[in-house]
């Protein structure tokens, strides 16, 4: 697919308009600049963070939590979704357990994370993994339940009858589009979980954001908001490209 020039230009135009409007609102006196720092003050705030070395340190810390938490949550989500998607007994056994645990918000796990892991990166990884787990679990479960039974019969007919063979030859490839949709949602959800995971003092973007906000340094808060947005944007764009490659077999 070749993108139309207007199609690549339009989002940039929208972004420029967004920043212009954002600049105009506090400058016009409509809102106190302390409540909403205009974009023009952000470069200075960013440079202060950069020179103190805190920006890089925060990114390094958070990326570590993010990648590990995401990997664990996605891995366990796919594994659990596969088991309950394939076996009715497992689905039945877990039906109410899932209903009990699913609505618990990520923040509610914070005290447990501290008690179990202490105030250290493992606790942050745990919070992120839990936030991601459910999304991937439900996506995988649904995708695997929906695999065309005719394709399983085909595998049967050519002698692939053990569970691992069926998983590798048919079930996972067939469920891949649905699983990847879940993983993509998880990529965004995991950044939200990063903030929750770091507010209790594990070093990273979330912690820096909380420190700045208790000092009412709104410009720094916004610098970290945009940092997170940038990281999310890059990761999501890379993932979308990967997804398109993996799923090129779809019409």
């Amino acid at each position: 697919m070749r993108a139309h020039p207007a199609a690549t230009l339009l989002p940039l135009l929208g972004l420029a308009a967004f920043f212009l409007l954002w600049e105009a609102v506090p400058l016009s006196g409509l809102v106190n600049p302390a409540f909403l720092p205009p974009p023009s003050v952000l470069p200075a705030a960013f440079l202060r963070e950069w020179h103190s070395g805190q920006w890089m340190a925060a990114i390094g810390g958070s990326l570590g939590h993010y990648v590990l938490g995401l990997a664990i949550g996605v891995g366990l989500g796919i594994a659990a979704g596969t088991v309950t998607g394939l076996f009715r007994t497992a689905e039945g056994l877990t039906a109410w357990v899932v209903r009990v645990l699913r609505p618990v918000p990520g923040l509610a796990w914070v005290p447990f994370a501290i008690i179990w892991f202490g105030v250290n990166p493992s606790a942050a990884v745990f919070i992120i993994a839990i936030g991601v787990f459910w999304i991937v679990y439900f996506a995988s479960h649904g995708a695997i339940r929906g695999v065309d039974r005719d394709l399983l019969e085909l595998a049967d007919a050519f002698g692939f009858r053990s569970a691992p063979e069926r998983l590798i030859k048919v079930v996972w490839p067939a469920a891949m589009p649905g699983i990847l949709v879940g993983v993509r949602t998880a990529l965004g959800q995991a950044w939200m979980a990063v903030v929750a995971a770091e507010i209790f003092g594990v070093p990273g973007l979330g912690q820096r954001m909380m420190q700045a906000s208790t000092l009412l340094a709104t410009d720094i808060v916004v610098v970290y908001m945009l940092t997170m947005a940038l990281l999310y944007g890059l990761i999501d764009a890379a993932f979308t490209a990967l997804q398109a490659r993996v799923l090129q077999w779809r019409a």
Binding site: D150, E153, L154, F158, G159, K169, V170, W249, R250
Partner: protein, 252 residues
């Protein structure tokens, strides 16, 4: 000729929600090596079920099904379905190689055999395409190549051409005759199309009744390639049609 498949007193009963439905009953059938056997019967009589039993996908409720054991690198039977049933995430060549992956062959050998099978159905050029890029007829040829690749003793085909337009169907029938006759391939071909059965087969078995059983057997010895309009074929077709309507009246 040695029998490749022997069926004795086969009966099959499905149980669903506590109610039992007998689909096949008292079926005896032998398939000889090199034979092209067609099975015709009305919809729901149990033709697909019979193929599933032979392919080992369903266990018989009564009776025995004996299938000649395969040599290494081959399968006893390979199934071609009514829909091509290709795996959409595999390129065409990898679809053809699907069954070979179970046969513990070296990778190079798998590739060679998949390429050869694809060439036999005339689609060597499409090896690198995705299934969605193929026409219905091409897809069905790939399904045929996938089955031929495992060099089955008996090729089982379940109404393989019924979803195709008349022109494509005839082209594929001719191709099947050419491929199977040349190689002495044994075929068990299920269809509800009487003209198709008499054009292709050495022997036509009429399946009828509820539960389904063998109602009649017709032998055709006209040499291939056959003339679709030959009186001998028309006459056998008439007799098969009579078998089917007769059993309808008996059943109703």
């Amino acid at each position: 000729m040695a029998g490749l498949i022997g069926i004795r007193g086969l009966a099959l009963t499905f149980t669903r929600d506590g109610t039992q439905t007998k689909v096949l009953d008292g079926l005896d059938l032998d398939i000889a090596s090199g034979e092209f056997l067609a099975i015709v019967g009305a919809s729901g009589v149990g033709k697909s079920t019979l193929l599933r039993v032979i392919a080992g996908l369903v266990r018989p409720s009564e009776g025995t099904v004996t299938v000649s054991p395969p040599e290494p690198g081959r399968r006893s039977v390979a199934l071609v379905f009514q829909d091509a049933r290709l795996l959409p995430w595999r390129r065409i060549l990898d679809n053809v190689a699907f069954g070979l992956e179970k046969l513990k062959l070296p990778r190079a050998e798998r590739k060679r055999r998949a390429q050869a099978a694809l060439a036999r159905v005339g689609l060597a050029d499409l090896a690198g395409r995705w299934p969605f890029q193929l026409s219905g007829g091409q897809r069905q040829r790939v399904a045929l190549a996938r089955a031929l690749a495992v060099e089955p003793h008996v090729l089982l085909m379940d109404e393989p051409f019924s979803a195709l337009d008349a022109l494509t169907r005839e082209a594929l029938q001719d191709e099947l005759v050419r491929l199977c006759r040349a190689a002495g391939q044994t075929v068990l071909f299920v269809t509800h199309d009487i003209e198709e059965a008499v054009y292709l087969a050495d022997r036509v078995v009429v399946l009828a009744g509820a539960p389904g059983s063998i109602r009649a057997t017709h032998t055709l010895d006209a040499p291939h390639p056959r003339d679709r309009t030959a009186p001998a074929l028309q006459e056998t077709a008439q007799r098969i049609r009579a078998d089917l309507t007769l059993t309808d009246r008996v059943a109703g």
